[in-house]
Assembly symmetry: none
Homo-oligomer: 414 residues x 2
């Protein structure tokens, strides 16, 4: 048996998305519809009914872990996702390259994403990794840039804590926020001081960088500060292999998803052209996914474009990405697998409706297909069809159910 | 109000079981179909979505208990199921009468079930209960035979523990396994030593028994050793009567199911001819079930044949047993009850598909019927129909829902 899990980030939507239909319903998706016809549909609450999921917590839950038990924060997945070496005691952060203006009242956030900066990451990394904290010189700072404005940061040293507020207020035009400890222990105060020190030093080393002078000259916002959030340590998870006895790989352009999957023990497959954006090379991902199954038991493919378009409130972009996903990812995967011995699941990690531009609480549609799936009467993949699907509605655990069809699940009890 | 719960072990299946249908779908089940037509269907995950159930954990969950909280292991249900007196501190085991060969390398398991031995249980019991442990003479050993190769064992004495590995490796042709402590406390080491002592002594007292000499002469595998597993103590459960204020009985040929029901406070009803196998006297069970309702509030009827046929990968046997169950158990029960004041539920404790021959993770179909059930549009009892049933999909708690229809459920909150 082999298994394929495809998660389209933010796949689900609302009827307002596209002429009264959701983007998924309005999109032409012949390959996913064919899977619906020979498989079965249902609705999944990624974490639980009425719980509005983050992407990290949702993925943990879909992969079979209880995020209420194992989730430590986002940062560690970002760090693992860009192949940083996360050690016990390390405090990990998601880091944004951002733009601040130096005003009379202090540094003011002008762009949380530094114009989604595309180049110059090496120069930024080098400058940031040269930083030595002044008040806490025994704490090492390690920065790695990811795609666009995204990066990851590790604080390494004795006596650190995750109990600190976020440096990124998620607001534009606000003054730079001081990070505060959220616990009264010395480690939390020390960690907050270290982050505040780092944030200000990042402005000092970045604002006059040749890269940023060129960006200013070109009318682009400079990447002149780093804003961190999601303080976390490495979570304590049993690996998927230790639970099910099978080995698999992750194909994901986004560091966060790659990081979650690595934490669960999946092998990362790097696909050139997999950008984690709307322009990602879906055919290359499909080829890689089918190739993985030659040597491993399962593959988890993540695509991010659906969510990006939802956050951008761009219904056309979301619909077109779904159609491209159907044609260039699902079609080639379905053609490349052995139908008699492969089970497949396609779902989202949450809904990102166009009208709201962020994650919402609704359940997401899911389709399972393969030889052991009891087929239902649905024949199209969409929110409404999933609501009358034969699998009903449940919470999380999409991968354990997929593995159950493959006869890989351990028995609980006797 | 009265209530009837029928659990057909391993009832559910997969589309591969029978010409693209499951055995339940392919079987002619007019009585269950009529219940579907006047009642409502749904899908139950016996323990939770994507959790592959054991029979003991699944039954606890269906009866309204959280197995993650109350389950202590299988052995105690086997002991209670054969009416052994389980006391605080007793360590209970499921015990298999098995066949080993004495080889140069040690005792090798030849048949885990001693040819499903049908006779001579008194002789085996007497020999085994005469065993006195050598290294731990203060530990008493009590053995009771059940049906065929099945039995139950209690270790009674000071300083015992459930933290030991299993003597039954579930593999044939393997050398006899030494039981090891899984905790570092002296009680676990002492318990492991006692089991290893008992296992070897069981071979000493059994291998030359007249019964086994006769079996060898007849070409049958001797019951020359006892292999134990499922170490457990009596779980701490509130009785069904203490929760709902109603009293009921269990009718089950298999000791395990009888034991689970006794643990929950049900009264056991012994029905001659109820074998816990494919040959069980279903009409006798139906008569007994209807009779119970004259004097008690509810009855739980367990049939095992569906699961046996699934484990044996025998689609014809499973289909025929389901048809016989419909005609000889469900039909007579439906005829014998007062429809205006009785609620009825029929489900399985897990799926046992023919192609896999063991429990799988899929949800099981369920039908509820009775005066307070909101009827849906289904008209047949099967996996696909249950997937479009009016009750949707949920986890466990089949008995509390049945009792809810009877207006027996306690209010949580005010």
């Amino acid at each position: 048996m082999k298994a394929v899990l495809v998660v389209a980030d933010g796949l689900g939507g609302r009827p307002t998305d596209w002429s009264g239909q959701t983007c998924l319903e309005a999109a032409a998706t012949p390959h996913m519809d064919a899977l619906a016809a020979r498989g079965a549909l249902g609705l999944v609450d990624p974490i639980g009914p009425g719980v509005r999921p983050g992407s990290d917590t949702a993925h943990l839950s879909l992969l079979g872990y209880d995020p209420h038990v194992v989730y430590t924060g986002r940062g560690v997945f970002e760090c693992l996702g860009v192949d940083m070496d996360v050690r016990p005691g390390d405090i990990c952060f998601r880091a944004n390259l951002a733009t601040v203006l130096d005003t009379d009242h202090g540094l003011r956030v002008a762009d949380r994403r530094a114009g989604r900066i595309e180049t110059g990451h090496d120069e930024l990394e080098k400058a940031l990794n040269g930083i030595r904290l002044k008040r806490t010189p025994d704490i090492e700072v390690i920065f790695r840039a990811s795609t666009q404005h995204r990066g990851a940061l590790i604080l390494r040293g004795p006596g650190l804590s995750t109990h600190v507020t976020e440096a990124d207020s998620h607001r534009v035009d606000a003054l730079l926020l001081d990070v505060c400890p959220t616990d009264s222990d010395p480690a939390s105060a020390r960690t907050a001081a270290a982050i505040n020190d780092f944030t200000r030093l990042s402005y000092e080393v970045l604002h006059d960088l040749p890269l940023n002078r060129r960006r200013l000259a070109a009318g682009k916002p400079p990447a002149n500060i780093v804003l961190v959030r999601g303080a976390s340590t490495r979570p304590n998870l049993p690996s998927i292999e230790s639970i099910y006895g099978v080995r698999g790989a992750v194909i994901a352009g986004g560091a966060l998803y790659r990081g979650v999957a690595l934490t669960c023990g999946m092998k990362p497959i790097d696909v050139p052209g997999a950008t984690g954006g709307l322009d990602t090379d879906l055919m290359a991902k499909a080829r890689a996914a089918v190739g993985v199954l030659d040597r491993l038991d399962y593959v988890f493919v993540h695509v991010k474009g659906t969510d990006n378009a939802g956050h951008d409130r761009n219904a056309t972009a979301k619909l077109q990405f779904i159609e491209r996903m159907d044609a260039e990812l699902i079609g080639p995967i379905v053609s490349g697998i052995d139908h008699g011995s492969t089970h497949l699941a396609i779902t989202g990690d949450h809904t990102t409706p166009i009208d709201y531009g962020d994650h919402t609480v609704e359940p997401v549609p899911i389709v399972y297909a393969g030889p052991n799936v009891v087929c239902d009467r649905t024949s199209a993949f969409g929110e409404r069809e999933a609501g009358r699907g034969g699998l009903g509605r449940w919470s999380g655990r999409v991968l354990p159910i997929l593995f159950g069809y493959c006869n890989w699940a351990p028995k609980y009890g006797s």
